[in-house]
Symmetry: C2
Subunit: 232 residues, 2 copies
DNA sequence: GCAAAAGTGTTGTCCTTACACCCATGC
DNA sequence: GCATGGGTGTAAGGACAACACTTTTGC
C-alpha cells in the first residue's frame, strides 16, 4: 500500500521550491529590510530578498532558518510563514513557487556577520525596483506586519531585550504611520501588565534618561485572551 | 541571461505540490466541513480533505478553485490561502508539500453536484481520525477561522444572501463557542451600518418571523478602517 | 392562549482620548 | 539656565455588558 502512495506521488508534476525571507529590523526610527544585490545577470544591480531553493528533504521552516543563517550569519531569530507565491511567470528561469517568511530582529543584538552580495539594510518606504516579484512580496509583508503588530507583541522582536517606552512607541508609530499620545501609550502598556521594569535607565542620551523595560513573554502567554469581540 | 536563470532553476530540487481545500459550511447551527473518503488504500475508509496535485503551469489559487470545482461541482466560492505544510514525512508516498485554502460557502445556495468518494458534510467538532496530516490542517484552519471571523466579515460567506440576525448570531456563537447577548449583538451590527434591510421576512418558521438582511460589501469596502489600535 | 423567538432602551462600567505641568539630564 | 524629552493625572465621551418587557407568529 505504501507502493500505491509512492506511485501516486510519482505521477505528480514536480516544481522547484524556494523560500524568501523578508528580514525586518528597526534602525533610526524607521523600518528597514535586509536586501542583497541579485545573483542573476538578468537582474544585475537590482535588489532582492534573501532566498534560496528548498533542499530535498527539508521543511520550509528549516529552509527559512537556513537561508537566514547562510545569508546573514544570524540564528535564533523570530520567523513566521506569511504566504506562498506561485504565479507561473514570477521567475524568469521558469516556474518557481516561493514561500515567504518574515523575520523580525533586533539590529543591535544581531550583527551582520556576512556581507556577500552587498547585503545591507534599506528603508522599507524608499525601495524602488526589485528583482522578480520581490517588491510585491515586500509590500505584502509590510501590510501583514501592520496588521499583525497590532494584535501580537511582535514589536519586541525588533527591539533589544531592554528598551525604553519611547523606543517601543517609535516602532508602532513608524510601522503604522500614526502619531500616538505619549501618555496614553504609556498607560496602555502599563495596564497590560506585560512590561517588566528592569530598574535600569537609558544611557548616552542628551536628556533625562528613561526607564528600561523588558517584555514578559511568559505572563503574556498565560494571560492572552481568546475571544476579543467582533470588530471590522 | 534568461539562459542563466533557466540553468539556475534547473539546478533546484523539484517537489510535488498539492492544494487542499478546507471547505466549510454552516448547517443546523454548527460548522461543517466537506470531506471525502481517501483514495489511498493505505488510508482506506479514513476521511480526507479535498485535494489534488498542482498542474504544471497552474498557480495555487487556480488549483484550489479547480479542486473545488472538480470535487464538488461548485464555482464562485470564497477561497483564501491559509498556510503551506511541508513536513517531509507528511505524505506516505514521499515528500509532498501542500498549500491549504479555506473555502467558506452557503450550503443552501451551493448544492453538492458530485458525490464521488462519499463526499459529505461532517461536523467539525466531531471528527476523529483523518488521513495524512489532515486533522492537523483542519485544526489549524479552524483556529484561523476563529480569529479571522472576528476581524473580517467572513460570516456572510457561510450564509445565504438574505439572512436573519439570528442566523448571523448562530454563526458567531458556533464558531467562537461563546454565548452572545441578542440585544447587544443586534446593536453592534446596526451601529456598523453594513446590514441592509431587505424588507423581506423569514418564512416557514414556527414563531414570529424576523427581518431578513443582506450585507453591503460595497459600503464595507469603503468604510473599513485602517488603524484599529494596539490590542493583544 | 400558549410556546417561541423577535424587537426594543436604559444604566453602569470601563476603556479611550485629549490635554498641561513638573522633572532629570547634558551641554 | 536652557533645551530636550521623561514622567504623571484628570475629566469627558464613547463603547460595551448586563438586563426585562412587549410583540408577532404558528399551533
Amino acid at each position: 500500500m505504501l507502493k500505491d502512495a509512492a506511485e501516486l506521488v510519482k505521477s505528480y508534476p514536480r516544481v522547484p521550491l524556494t523560500v524568501d525571507c523578508v528580514i525586518l529590523g528597526f534602525i533610526d526610527n524607521s523600518l528597514k529590510v535586509l536586501l542583497i544585490k541579485s545573483d542573476l545577470p538578468l537582474y544585475h544591480g537590482q535588489l532582492s530578498l534573501l532566498g534560496d531553493n528548498v533542499h530535498a528533504e527539508e521543511d520550509l521552516d528549516t529552509a527559512a532558518n537556513r537561508v537566514l543563517k547562510e545569508r546573514t550569519g544570524m540564528a535564533n531569530v523570530y520567523l513566521e510563514q506569511v504566504h506562498t507565491f506561485s504565479k507561473p511567470d514570477r521567475h524568469p528561469g521558469g516556474r518557481v513557487v516561493t514561500t515567504v517568511y518574515a523575520s523580525l530582529l533586533d539590529t543591535k543584538h544581531h550583527a551582520l556577520l556576512i556581507h556577500d552580495n552587498e547585503l545591507k539594510w534599506h528603508s522599507v518606504n524608499q525601495i524602488q525596483g526589485m528583482a522578480f516579484d520581490h517588491k510585491i512580496i515586500l509590500d505584502f509583508c509590510f501590510q501583514w506586519l501592520q496588521k499583525r503588530i497590532q494584535e501580537h507583541p511582535l514589536a519586541f522582536n525588533l527591539l533589544p531585550v531592554k528598551f525604553s517606552l519611547r523606543q517601543l512607541q517609535n516602532v508602532y508609530e513608524a510601522i503604522l504611520n500614526v502619531k500616538l499620545d505619549r501618555r496614553n501609550f504609556r498607560k496602555k502598556f502599563a495596564a497590560m501588565g506585560f512590561l517588566q521594569d528592569t530598574s535600569e535607565m537609558e544611557t548616552l542620551v542628551t536628556h533625562r534618561p528613561g526607564k528600561l523595560y523588558s517584555f514578559d513573554f511568559v505572563s503574556y502567554e498565560q494571560k492572552k485572551k481568546n475571544f476579543m469581540g467582533i470588530d471590522f
